[in-house]
Subunit: 358 residues, 2 copies
């Protein structure tokens, strides 16, 4: 098959890569569409760090940082051929999406971050039959492939334990922030405040359901609370409490992944803020526990999603509750992947780029 291969920080096109072979319970599929994720860029440029971080969390990785990998875990594909021990539940030609996990001899591996299971930047993949979800409702393959990134937003919103007293602020409107906005909107939470330096991303944020968009270069997102009836300081909180009012509380979704943002949040967030960290910042932050206690902050560090969240986001996209098309800024072929990776390094120019190998 043809595939784009990552190795030692570089991408190259391999026109004659060996097709993967489905094992027990697995299905060979043809890639129809696959999104480029921030973590693909990270894997390409910081493979060693990524593996080392995982190892420090006690993760077992089968990835050799010097080896070749076909990245891509946000995919939609077409069933080609069933491996041994499958139920052949979905006939060849069925379009499917799936959480990107597959069982190898050493345990579960991530499809698209594995030497055994090439991802969607190649023409063929091997997926787990039990995890396949048929694409419903005639949904396009490009939009179906966006189930994965939008599921990240759904999971973050689940962790946030939102209710009608919580006012959400989404910091950063890249694909992660947009997914959070879409999940908030699809569940009826709001008003949704979103901020990003990029006017293009702010526009997409509005299309996905943000009620107010801010340019942090012009106005601090941390000064928006009073307009939304959220006590911004301990003193204001205490006044609200004395009036016997159940006051609104802020929930901030950190979706920038930028160094220093979390530490800034500790300083600037109102008391009783719940912070959901979805953007991955790789450098240590200096945080003040004393200040966090005084403000009674809470933090959730969000990663991935459950199978249920994944399935319900597919339905949300297919039935129009999530306007995935708004976040799709470009479609490219396999040959253009290296260039697309490059353009994604300057944030703000794009939201989601989808690769269509055919």
């Amino acid at each position: 098959m043809k595939a784009v291969v990552a190795r030692r920080g570089r991408l190259f096109i391999d026109d004659h890569r060996t097709d993967p072979v489905p094992g027990v319970g697995q299905v060979l599929v043809r890639t129809l569409a696959c999104g480029i994720c921030g973590s693909d860029l990270h894997a390409l440029h910081h493979m060693h760090t990524m593996i080392e971080l995982n190892a420090r969390a006690g993760g077992k990785t089968t990835v050799d940082p010097e080896g070749e990998i076909v990245l891509g875990h946000e995919f939609c594909a077409e069933v080609l051929e069933h491996g041994p021990g499958t139920e052949s539940r979905l006939k060849p030609g069925t379009r499917v999406v799936s959480v990107p996990y597959a069982a190898g001899p050493q345990g579960m591996e991530l499809v698209g971050f594995s030497h055994r299971f090439p991802g969607g930047f190649g023409e063929r993949m091997v997926l787990t039959e039990a995890m396949l979800l048929e694409v419903p409702n005639g949904l396009s393959s490009a939009l179906a492939a966006m189930t994965e990134p939008f599921a990240v937003g759904a999971h973050a919103v689940s962790l946030a334990r939102m209710d009608e007293h919580r006012v959400p602020l989404v910091m950063g409107c890249g694909p992660v922030g947009l997914a959070v906005i879409a999940a908030l909107k699809s569940r009826g939470y709001g008003p949704i405040i979103a901020c990003d330096f990029s006017p293009e991303r702010r526009r997409i944020a509005e299309e996905l359901g943000a009620d107010v968009v801010l340019n942090p270069a012009q106005s601090s997102p941390f000064e928006c609370w009073t307009s939304f009836d959220v006590p911004a300081t301990l003193a204001e909180q205490s006044v609200a409490a004395q009036l016997g009012r159940k006051s609104k509380r802020p929930t901030i979704f950190e979706c920038t992944g930028a160094p220093g943002v979390l530490s800034q949040m500790f300083k600037m967030a109102p008391p009783l803020t719940r912070i959901v960290v979805v953007g991955t910042c790789q450098t240590p932050e200096s945080l003040e526990p004393g200040l966090a206690i005084t403000k009674q902050l809470s933090l959730e560090f969000a990663l991935a999603y459950s199978s249920d969240e994944f399935a319900s986001v597919l339905a949300d996209i297919a039935q129009g509750r999530i306007n995935a098309a708004a976040a799709l800024t470009s479609t490219v072929g396999l040959n253009e992947i290296p260039q697309a990776f490059e353009s994604l390094r300057s944030p703000g120019a794009h939201a989601k780029i989808i690769v269509e190998p055919a």
Copy 2:
């Protein structure tokens, strides 16, 4: 009245301090017992830092760091005289406890951290009538005064959202850790693992309900998980998930307040750990968001308690569900307060010291 006064890092005994005068809705009481809290020590030695931290959270303080304060907010008292606009609900002589808040002309103030409302290290206080709770069941004044510190534990456990899949580890068995252990025990959560360097505190932890106590000098508390069926690493978690098991998850209560402990927790805690920070560490910690995301940690920073939690802890103590007596290591008079403060600076020698002014 006689009172122990804090000023500029020193304590002195004032035999002729003016009695406080009850305002509208307030009651004059005679102090029967008052616990010494870690935050009293902190207020004495770091008054400026405390006020500055509160100000950075947007708190309004009426406290002049150079002024005189009668500390003490963990009290039991006897009703002496009702001020104007009271309902005179509880007759003179009734023993009461109360959350330590009172309304002054500039808003709510903390009894025992205010120039207007002297705390329990003096013979008289002024409390808010609406907040008074009668001491039930013939409970001793010393144990009733421990409602406040035990309420801190109850609040931390509420924030922890415990269930039968959560295994609690309490780091540090000073008054805060002991309160957390008692709250866990009274609600039936466990097995409770606790650790402290002090053998005396470990013994008290056991009396209050800890099922396993560890000496961190001998064995790392972060290595205890496998004995309790908690997957300790991402790899173990993933195996549990493949076996379709709902695996146990760790909840760590940080009750040491010691610098570096939180940063150590980020490194050593198993994936899916919920960390409840109850001990106040005043120095910034260097924390890795990337590691926290990989492990999907969550953090709650706990402060104080609600009125409901306070009231239910009073009932828990009075009805023997919380063995408060186990945490009471010494009773002293007003004259001995300076010495008691001094001895509390070397941790491990004491749990709770109660002052009885009479």
